[in-house]
């Protein structure tokens, strides 16, 4: 009866002798043995019957025989000691059986022979449940982390949007102010010209009087001479033209800056037309050198004019964003060099600076919208992404190479002619929302 009971127990029971030869296997083991082994398993080493983990089995059996102390093994560390399939061959999800094993030292009561009893428990259900739980908790953790990241991102995006909105209105304001400044600058300029003429007339009158001085009587002569002396006429005559010339120069510069500001204030209803890259570059240098005076600016081009088809607004904006980055990379001393090279059907614009360079870890994210290394409030991280979009829409390419503490080169390649299909999209897509 006991033999039947042990045979039918839902755990594996196997008994081996000190040479690891099988003395007994219950049905749990036998049912899972290959057919050809079922008749001849007795007196075969258990490590021959189950070779997969033979080394491990041998080690554990040896320890049990030597120490006369039980040994344990768990599915967590060693899931499949015996190469058995999961007990549900058709519907089960696990293909291999997960096993817990216990080896106990026992003694044959009649002969006193030392034996080891192997208990094998099928814990597939438990293991797969545990693993599913673990997977679930990992997935949850990941999701949680992703959500937290998203929330953080949203937070920054929100503050950056507010900042962007502020900047946009500032830009609009600048354009408006530029327009307003133009009027007074216009009449000041005209007045200054007239003033210059009037001054020269006054000087010739004075000079005329001075030349006629000998013909006056002594008293009058003395009076006039004193008048000239007391008003420092010599100094006045010398200085007045210079002052007016300087002021005219200054006004011309103000006009230039205002003009450029207007050009760059994203007014771009023009659509696609012929654009001279050289002019743009020169305008840019004037504009940017007014704000960033530290670097030395250079412009290089073999031709007077290099024309491409494009939308001037976005194109200028793209170049300006790149240029500003270059200028900002230089703190005290250095140069920013722009070169325009014609290459077959396309034009290459290189913007080179000898500034601080871009750290490797940032290089992958340069064109990512809202990516910025500037402190909050000082940059929206939109410059290069705007440039990228604009150049892309011109069917061009933009690439950046940089070396830390050496400098950065931005290379922009744009085709001279756009294919017709894209023209329309540039027209429609690049209409700036800032157009008044």
């Amino acid at each position: 009866m006991f033999e039947q009971l042990v045979g039918k127990l839902p755990v594996g029971i196997g008994i081996v002798d000190e040479q690891f030869n099988v003395v007994y296997l219950n049905d749990f083991f036998l049912d899972r043995l290959p057919h050809d082994l079922r008749d001849c398993y007795k007196d075969t080493p258990v490590t021959d019957l189950f070779q997969g983990q033979a080394k491990f089995l041998k080690r554990r059996l040896k320890s049990v025989f030597v120490l006369q102390h039980p040994s344990f093994s768990y599915w967590e560390q060693r899931p499949h000691i015996f190469p058995f399939k999961s007990s549900r061959p058709i519907t089960g999800e696990e293909t291999q059986m997960y096993q817990n094993m216990e080896i106990l030292p026992i003694k044959d009561k009649s002969s006193g022979q030392k034996l080891a009893c192997i208990f094998l428990q099928d814990v597939t259900a438990q293991a797969s449940y545990f693993r599913a739980q673990q997977k679930l908790s990992e997935a949850l953790k990941k999701e949680h982390e992703a959500q937290r990241k998203l929330i953080r991102k949203l937070d920054t995006a929100q503050s950056q949007l507010i900042q962007a909105e502020k900047m946009a209105s500032t830009g609009q304001l600048a354009a408006g102010i530029a327009h307003e400044i133009n009027n007074p600058v216009g009449f000041v300029n005209a007045n200054l010209n007239t003033l210059g003429q009037y001054a020269s007339h006054l000087i010739s009158i004075c000079d005329g009087v001075y030349a006629q001085l000998e013909q006056f009587n002594d008293e009058l002569k003395e009076q006039i001479d004193a008048l000239f002396q007391s008003n420092h006429y010599d100094l006045l005559k010398e200085d007045i033209t210079e002052l007016i010339e300087e002021s005219t120069d200054g006004l011309t510069r103000v006009k230039d800056i205002v003009e450029n500001l207007k050009n760059f204030s994203l007014k771009n209803t023009e659509g696609v037309r012929t654009v001279d890259v050289c002019t743009i570059c020169n305008q840019l240098i004037t504009l940017i050198s007014a704000q960033y005076s530290a670097p030395h600016y250079k412009f290089e081009c073999e031709h007077e004019k290099v024309e491409v088809m494009g939308n001037p607004g976005p194109l200028k904006q793209a170049l300006m964003n790149v240029m500003i980055n270059a200028a900002q990379a230089i703190e005290t001393k250095g140069f920013v060099k722009l070169s325009v090279i014609e290459k077959g059907d396309s034009v290459v614009i290189k913007i080179l600076d000898s500034g601080c360079g871009i750290p490797v870890k940032h290089r992958k994210r340069l064109f990512e919208p809202f990516f910025t290394t500037k402190p909050e409030g000082q940059g929206q991280g939109l410059g290069l992404s705007v440039a990228y979009t604009a150049i892309e829409q011109h069917q061009g390419k933009i690439s950046i190479s940089s070396k830390e503490n050496k400098g950065t080169v931005v290379e922009i390649t744009i085709p001279k002619q756009l294919s017709c299909l894209e023209n329309e999209s540039i027209d429609s897509e690049l209409d700036s929302p800032l157009t008044p």
Binding site: L67, P70, S71, F72, Q77
Partner: protein, 137 residues
């Protein structure tokens, strides 16, 4: 309580006396012990766990067997499990007394060391006391 570089498996035993054996194993020198135990380098996470459990089983078992033999008690060790003291709430534990029996194992050639701490429940403590009294009488 976070035990850095240490493993703390536990193993309960039943029989004439009931209790648990806690072991404290050093991570240092574990690789050398693993080599002695026929494991192959490099050790996986599972290998390390298995080695710790087996070491706990063998050494704690040896101690308990020795103790039981001397005091003529019968004890059976259950399977060892990994225990993380830093994740347990000790306030919920019911016992108030402790009799600490500490056995230390050091392997001369390596930096590996292991301590075994025996914990007995109140009833078993009384039983051990009686047994000792009998032996000393």
């Amino acid at each position: 309580m976070k035990l850095k570089g240490l493993f703390t498996p536990r193993q309960s035993f039943l029989g004439d006396v009931h209790g648990e054996v806690m072991s404290v194993l050093s991570q240092a020198g574990l690789t050398e012990v693993a080599t002695l135990m026929d494991y192959e380098d490099p050790l996986s996470e599972e290998d390390i766990q298995e080695i710790i459990l087996e070491l706990c089983n063998i050494l704690a078992g040896a101690c308990l067997a020795g103790l039981s033999e001397q005091l003529e008690l019968t004890t059976n060790l259950n399977m060892p499990t990994l225990f993380q003291p830093d994740k347990s709430n000790f306030d919920d534990l019911k016992w108030q007394h402790s009799l600490v029996m500490e056995v230390q194992f050091v392997i001369a050639i390596s930096s590996f060391s292991m301590r075994v701490v025996f914990c007995l429940d109140d009833e078993s403590l009384a039983r051990i006391k009686n047994t000792l009294d009998e032996l000393l009488a």
